[in-house]
Amino acid sequence: MNVRPVTISAAHRTGIHTGVSRVSLAGLIVMSTFGLLALLAPFLAPTAPNTLSAPLQPPGSAHRLGTDDIGRDVLTQLLYGARTSLFIAALSTLLSSLLGLLVGLIAGVFDRLGFVLLRVADIFLAIPRFPLIILMAAFLRPGLPTLVLFFVIFGWPRAARMVRAQVLSERHRAYIGAAKALGASHTRIIVRHLLPGTLPILTVFAVMEVQHVILAESGLSFLGLGDPTIRSWGLLLSNAFRFPTTFITDQWVWWALPPGLCITLVILALTAISFALLDNAAFVS
């Protein structure tokens, strides 16, 4: 294995560094814009979220992006959709990351407990999604928390695996041995030495997971398994898809393209941001 022990400063390990590339800055700006739009949606939206006017109107002065098949303003739905989609993705990812981090750290440090935890993670990974979403929709209260729970159930095993892999590699490094020799407790080693090293990979996970949740949520709506009372970008997009004329006319340009584009831009922006966090990070195996 062509790896030599390399000393890299703690600053680099946590991925903090001074120069932020222009790409990441652009990503940050885009995400902030979406975040702002999401927060200010009630003030920016031209109509109240449930008002109905004439259906399938092309873009005009009253409706900048036209109306959908039931007469709701597309721009309004887009703005409110930002709130919902971003919130769901952020919350799910946060919870998955935290849970995955916890489990991954423990599994990486304590071997026997680690085995058990890893098998539990495997089981969660292999749970069939379809019955689970149906069961959750049938037996739990409909709404956002149920959806977030659904994504966390499938998100944390991936995080745990990645964190554990990272911890396993780091464990054998000289500085860990040194810390142990100096009498550091397990907790101290985990928190002060191993934890920072996991942040880069956790960031990779977080970026991928947010992307995954946004796309998975829109996929659920597309298949008719989502909750139509949760007005997300995915719902707006899938409504456009379900309507038979959307793609044989030019309706798709003002109805399907905006939410699709928003989803894409958010995902792009997140990836760009991740570069700043990972640039020069020690990704030593």
Partner: protein, 520 residues
């Protein structure tokens, strides 16, 4: 060191081999090589959209509508329907006894099966006996237990006796059971699992050349010796498409059926001379089902309050984009003879609704109530929720998939639900207006229903059917919302003989897919 890239290379090779193996396995499939085209080369080959509806043997097709149609292309019944109504088919003529229990059919001479054998009265007698024996597996035809005996009087005459008179038997029973070749079916004990080539040998205008379950494709070849006349098409191919309008526009298919708000798509073809559009009766209804077996919707006053509160016209305009008509409260379609022309209605009147609401039981105001629906009707649910909120009657909307909804309805574990069904041309559908929930228990209603189910004479039956509709409209176990309009768009150059069958094809399928379209 070296084994790292090797491991990756191995993984890569594994992936590629998996893919290639699967590809070769797929490409070398015997199932895909069909026979050569039979029939005159000048006749068009039609491609039609559709899903997998099961292997088209008389027992293996999926019991929902299009499955029966696929099977009906291969098999014939004693009677059939054309654009006007009932016509003789395999039976040239028939007589009924006074009490309506004994039916004697005179078969059309010289009808052959696809394998060349002659179709005789013995086959017909065998068919009815066999279906009766296997009735637990036949979920699409209900009066099978009323078949008493069936016997061949001579080569071309068969006598079928029923245990009691069955209303509409000439249509529902004798117009839907496909006649089976005895020499093939007499040895088959489990007809559901019989999936070989011999079980699709029928007497119909087409033979089955190919059926692929996973690709959801059917290939039918015209059978030139058909007793009713030569074919207008050389072959019919059903393929799976994701979007019927797009498939039609791209030239992949030659036909598309639209209903409800999908009619917007049909309008896209209205100005194109290549296509023609026909409109048909919408034998389908979307309705609000009340759980009349428990509070608060056991109170008819509350149900009437809800009826006044909901603006059904707005739902039709806003949600279905006028692709539907506001439904008649008696459930049966306004386009059938059974329809009661003068039913009470509940106009959209929020003030009246509030007044009735205040009269309703106290229970109505205490319980948190849920309206369940599938995602497809979430919009209707939201508008209804808004209408009810306006009169001060809050409900929450819960969306589930069809299985969940069905389960909750059958258990009677719901307050109010949005659900729909077809079969509106046949008064038999009135047996349980809240179907699939069985929550409406009204003794008078049940007696009237059973009385009319016995009458063979339509004129005697009609007043009773009207009474049933009056009861539904006044008692409101269901509040009907809309009937969809149904349009069929087709490429007229290939075939222009499409039509809608009054009261539906076979047992009531509202598609413009009658085999008469395909023959001269």
């Amino acid at each position: 060191m070296r084994h790292i890239p090797r491991a990756i290379r191995r993984l890569f090779c594994l992936i590629v081999s998996l893919g290639v193996l699967a590809g070769c396995g797929v490409a070398g499939l015997p199932g895909d090589s069909g026979r050569e085209t039979v029939g005159q080369p000048t006749l068009p080959a039609l491609t039609l959209p559709g899903d997998d509806w099961g292997y088209p043997s008389p027992f293996a097709f999926y019991a929902r509508g299009p499955g029966y149609v696929r099977m009906s292309l291969l098999f014939d019944t004693l009677t059939w329907k054309d654009a006007e109504g009932l016509i003789p088919w395999l039976a040239d003529d028939w007589t009924t006894s006074e009490d309506g229990t004994v039916w004697t059919f005179k078969l059309h001479p010289d009808v052959t099966w696809h394998d060349g054998n002659r179709l005789t009265a013995k086959d017909v007698a065998f068919t009815y006996t066999y279906f009766k024996a296997q009735r637990s597996l036949v979920t699409w035809s209900w009066p099978l237990d009323r078949i008493d005996t069936a016997e061949a009087v001579d080569e071309e005459t068969v006598r079928i006796t029923l245990t009691e008179p069955v209303a509409g038997a000439h249509d529902v029973l004798f117009g839907s059971l496909p006649i089976l070749p005895q020499h093939i079916w007499e040895g088959i004990d489990d007809p559901l699992k019989a999936l070989g080539e011999e079980v699709v040998i029928g007497s119909g205008p087409f033979t089955l050349a190919e059926y692929s379950k996973e690709e959801e494709r059917y290939v039918y070849m015209a059978h030139p010796g058909y007793f009713k006349g030569g074919p207008r098409v050389s072959s019919l191919v059903f393929i799976k498409v994701e979007n019927e309008a797009l498939a039609l526009k791209s030239g992949t298919t030659d036909y598309a059926a639209f209903s409800g708000k999908a009619i917007e798509a049909a309008k896209q073809f209205a100005d194109d001379p290549e296509f023609e559009i026909i409109e048909g009766p919408g034998y389908w209804v979307l309705q609000l089902i009340f759980n009349t077996s428990r509070p608060p919707f056991d109170d008819v006053v509350l149900r009437r309050a809800v009826a006044h509160a909901i603006d059904r016209r707005r739902i039709v305009t806003q949600v279905t984009l006028d692709g539907a008509v506001v439904a008649e409260l008696g459930v049966l379609s306004p386009e059938t003879d059974w329809h009661h022309p003068d039913l009470p209605t509940y106009d959209h009147n929020p003030d009246e609704a509030r007044r009735l609401l205040s009269q309703a039981t106290e229970a109505a105001k205490l319980l948190p109530l849920t309206l369940i629906a599938t995602a497809e009707y979430a919009r209707e649910a939201e508008l209804i929720q808004a209408d009810l909120a306006e009169i001060g009657f809050p409900i929450t909307v819960q969306v589930g998939d069809t299985g969940t909804l069905d389960g909750l309805l059958r258990e009677g574990n719901f307050d109010v639900a949005i659900n729909g069904h077809g079969g509106l041309a046949n008064p038999a559908i009135l047996e349980s207006p809240t179907w699939p929930a069985m929550v409406y228990q009204n003794e008078v209603y049940r007696l009237i229903y059973e009385a009319q189910a016995q009458l063979s004479d339509d004129d005697a039956r009609r007043p009773l059917v009207w009474q049933l509709q009056e009861m539904i409209a006044s008692d409101l176990p269901v509040l009907t919302l809309w009937h969809p309009k149904m349009w069929t768009v087709y490429r007229s150059a290939k075939l222009d003989t499409w039509f809608y069958t009054p009261e539906g094809v076979g047992f009531g399928i509202p598609l413009a897919m009658n085999k008469l379209s395909f023959i001269d």
